[in-house]
Amino acid sequence: MESKLLLGPSAMGKFCSLKAAVAEFLFDGATVAFEGFSHLIPFAAAHEAIRQNRRNLKLVRMTPDLIYDQMIGMGCANRVVFSYAGNPGIGLLNRMRDAVESGWPNRLEITEHSHAALANAYVAGASGLPFAVLRGYSGVDLPRVNSEIQEIFCPFTREKLAAVRSVNLDLAVIHAQKADQAGNVLVEGILGVQKEAVFAAERSIVTVEEIVDEFDTSVNACILPNWKIDAICVVPGGAHPSYAHTYYDRDNASYFEWNEISKDRQKFLDWMKLNVLDATPEVFLSRALKRANVE
């Protein structure tokens, strides 16, 4: 039984409940990224963090999306590092707006980048470098309001470029399609910056659709190795209302609905109580299936 051998003693504790994983690895004040670019957004894990009432998180994410709108609205965060804070194709993030514009439920600091810069900052973090270089930010205003953007000069051509501080995380949280018995994780489809987030993090939690004996995929697939992963939690549907390529589609209707729910503080709180605080990770499967592949 090769897979048993591979598992090893330390890997055994790795397969655990989402509740246990969040309790062990997500601490108040942590710098944490719940990543996933439209695809594979780890909503179930974020909801668990909300239930466990985490505070003063520094939340990093290219696209805060509904997942951080919810965490911010519930008072989990005191800073957001981001590059596009919209409800894609629909509008704004009303809870994040309320925090930035009116300090509700608490004051929220922001560190704002462009996508190119933040993606590069993740790469630098994953690569053990303190900064990244990009051909960007020329003649625009963000460098005036973000001190984590500096000028740097090419030692060969003297050309001026932008440098950004690397992303370094206490914890990366992602959702993926599959883990194998040894605790390696397969991500397929839109890959976002998930590999970079895990490599840039001290610890990582991965929720997965399922555990399989073996990945049946390309030799060049995007696989995260078991020694970079601290907890694997089986949460089918755990990316809903985002989606999991080959498992279920994006629930666009929920994204539209969110625009209404999030406009009003009380309506938002009521929704969160019903759908998050009083719920468990087990609800995600039915939510995802409800709208899966019905086109």
Binding site: S38, H39, S83, P88, G89, E112, G139, L191, Y243, A253
Partner: protein, 258 residues
Amino acid sequence: MTGYTPIEMMTVAASRSLAEGDVCFAGVGPPSEACNLARAVHAPDLVLIYESGAVRARPRNLPLSVGDGELCETALCTVSVPEMFCYWLQGGHIDIGVLSAAQIDRFGNINTTIIGDYHAPKVRLPGGGGAPEIATSCDRIHLIVRQSRRSFRKELDFRTSFGFGEGGLSRSEAGILTAGPVVLFTDLAIWKPDPASKELTVVSLHPGVTRAQMHASVDWNIKFAEQVEITEPPSDEELTVLRELHKRTKASHFPKKI
């Protein structure tokens, strides 16, 4: 076809500017709509690149987000987001970036970040996303923005992405070697930069649009080209395909529940 809306005119006009074989970086919303209309009507080999990493995506519906599953499923391949921004975009391998904006100024600089003061905002907009580097790394930029006094501003509240800066040689002086916004499509007109001053100049009015309407919807003193054309109205085919696209898209956003 009897009628069409100004927004339909805008999308159709923008779609016509994209040609077979162009490699386009398509932002979500109107840009993606114009790109997919072009692909459906006259440029089936238009190559659409989305910042989510989808290369040569061929969605049947308009994606709601740039990371929709259909983009990946119909793509030639899907790369990681850092690879997309480093190798594909910054590497200089994209012909046209199609962008929209919340505010635009006469030199094609755009704001998608904030209304009001950055540190005490009136409205916190989504921010730059891919736009700041799309605006400087693509060979050229096509803009699509609805005209209104709120959005066509003499002074931007925040410069998110660079157009021609203060005009003239600002762009090359900022070290940017690409062409920048070569055309702007609105619901009323088509604008192109003056070759020397780089001020966006009205080169075509959509059918029925008056100069008074133009002045009323822009916060600065507009320049018109010496010869202002009248935009060819949407053809039956263009309108039919566009409306079909929207219908299919809406159906896909609200699928029947099981």
